[in-house]
Amino acid sequence: MIKINKLSKRYGDGQDALTNINFEIGKGEMSFVTGHSGAGKSTLLKLILAIEKPSGGDLIVNGLNLNKLSRREIPYHRRKIGTVFQDHQLLTDRTVFENVLLPLEISGFPVEDAKRRVRAALDKVGLLKKEKIFPAALSGGEQQRVGIARAVVNRPSIILADEPTGNLDPNLSAEVMKVFEQFKNVGVSLLVASHDTSLIKTLNYRVIHLDHGRMVNDIGISNE
């Protein structure tokens, strides 16, 4: 689903954010990307989301070479990817329900089915009772879970997550990981950026370690 070949990213100021990255994530595969802050995790996610353009190498997502992606194609590319953002990226003037509804609304989903899907997604992250509340009234952990519900509501083929457990206590973190595993089991590819090493250790998945924009380790363990 994600094929990365000799990928590099240099920002306008000459700083190399990523250098010579090579890996591949198949259908139904879950991988972690770790590394200290500034190692290039966020840049990698931005490149996959087509927020930034690669400086070199190939990045193929869902069979689409992102080097050849036109401006018009970007929204449709993003719709196939569910993203959990570190800073949640929720709309403060919309309720929890409306926030989760957003991806379905954008793709013109039939209203009744959309509502059903939103409730299913909110139920999964344990926030069904808070659907009418505005994000500002929620705790950081709850906001994070709204972000997760929004990322999965569109049934994307790829889920990206940037520090999805950053604000969560260990119990909730484990819950979130369980949700991710469920998606993995139905064929969704997941790439999770995290520095929560203790959590990663308990899960026994492939871990790609970045350091100063280079891949220093790719522990390709698959538990299948």
């Binding site: 929204p75 039939p110 059903r116 899907r117 999964k124």
Partner: protein, 330 residues
């Protein structure tokens, strides 16, 4: 977990079924598209109400801008109706030489009636002219004290045509009649008024072009500000796959609403101006013993003013939103 997957599976099947139905009949799709548009339009209206003062300012600016050229066009329509009224009574007056006797004068008048470019010819003797003048001017006493009649006899002619060139040709022919001292063309002031009306029309069109250009900038700037205010929201929508068109839609409705409301306020202002003017004009009009009355824009002109506002609002928003939304990136 299994249960949840089952539920989602069920939902998926329903979605597929619904899609199939939609493909079978387009009506299902149209209804939901209509619902979405109604929702966005309502949202845009709510946003206008949420910042009433700045919305009102924009609406009034649009209204006044639209009103200025519209008033010129309205003035012109009134002028045209005056012209039409008087063109029907365009007259040529032949003042006869003093040496011409009453019977000779009558004969000149009768002869002219055989000319088929002349609709009517009425002979007014010098005596009759004096009578009429003393009645209408109220200077009867003064006139009676005069030793001789200062007024010449005249033949009043209504041409059968309203065409300026033909009327001019006719008057040139009439001037050559030996009994005629001089002639006066009553249509000259109509020609002047007609030229003035043309000028007003051109000025109105120029003003309309300038004003509409200005409105594009005003509406564009308003839309730009509201895009700036909703920058974070636009970024989020872009992150989850919203197209520029999807993002632009509420702003297009905002522009459309501004235009419609601006146009409506312009029509309303026009009515107020009309009532005020007609009140103060009444006295002046009575002096001319005319039943002339300033006319307003009427239904179709009012409607086209509102539609112009709507088009300008929408197009202004369209140009601005695509330009500025493109610049907002996550």
């Amino acid at each position: 977990m299994a249960e949840w997957l089952m539920i989602s599976e069920l939902a998926m099947n329903k979605v597929k079924a619904a899609n199939r139905q939609n493909q079978a009949s387009h009506r299902g799709n149209d209804v939901s598209a209509l619902q979405i548009h109604r929702k966005i339009a309502l949202d845009s209206a709510k946003r206008l109400i949420l910042s009433p003062l700045s919305s009102l300012m924009t609406i009034v600016v649009i209204a006044v801008s639209l009103l200025l050229p519209a008033l010129l066009f309205g003035l012109n329509e009134n002028l045209q109706s005056i012209l039409l009224e008087f063109q029907n009574s365009a007259r040529i007056t032949l003042f006869l030489d003093n040496s011409v006797s009453e019977s000779q004068g009558q004969k000149v008048s009768d002869d002219l009636l055989t000319d088929n470019t002349i609709q009517s010819a009425i002979y007014v003797s010098a005596t009759k002219a004096l009578e009429e003048f003393s009645l209408s001017s109220g200077l009867g006493e003064v006139l009676r004290s005069l030793s001789s009649n200062p007024l010449p006899a005249a033949v009043i002619i209504t041409p059968a045509t309203l065409n300026t060139r033909e009327v001019n040709a006719l008057s040139q022919r009439l001037e050559t009649i030996s009994e005629v001292d001089f002639i006066q063309l009553d249509s000259q002031w109509i020609n002047r008024l007609s030229a003035l009306s043309d000028l007003i029309s051109i000025v109105g069109q120029l003003l309309a072009a300038i004003v509409i250009t200005g409105l594009f900038f005003i509406i564009g700037n308003t839309i730009k500000l509201s895009i700036e205010n909703r920058r974070q929201e636009i970024q989020v929508i872009k992150l989850v796959g919203g197209t520029d068109i999807y993002i632009a839609r509420p702003f297009l409705y905002t522009g459309l609403l501004f235009g419609i409301l601006g146009g409506s306020v312009a029509v309303f202002l026009q009515l107020i101006i009309l009532i005020m003017l007609n009140g103060s004009l009444q006295e002046l009009i009575q002096l001319y013993s005319s039943n002339f009355e300033l006319r307003g824009f009427g239904f179709f002109n009012s409607l086209s003013l509102v539609i112009t506002g709507a088009l300008v609002g929408w197009l202004g928003a369209f140009l601005a939103s695509f330009r500025y939304i493109r610049g907002v990136n996550p």
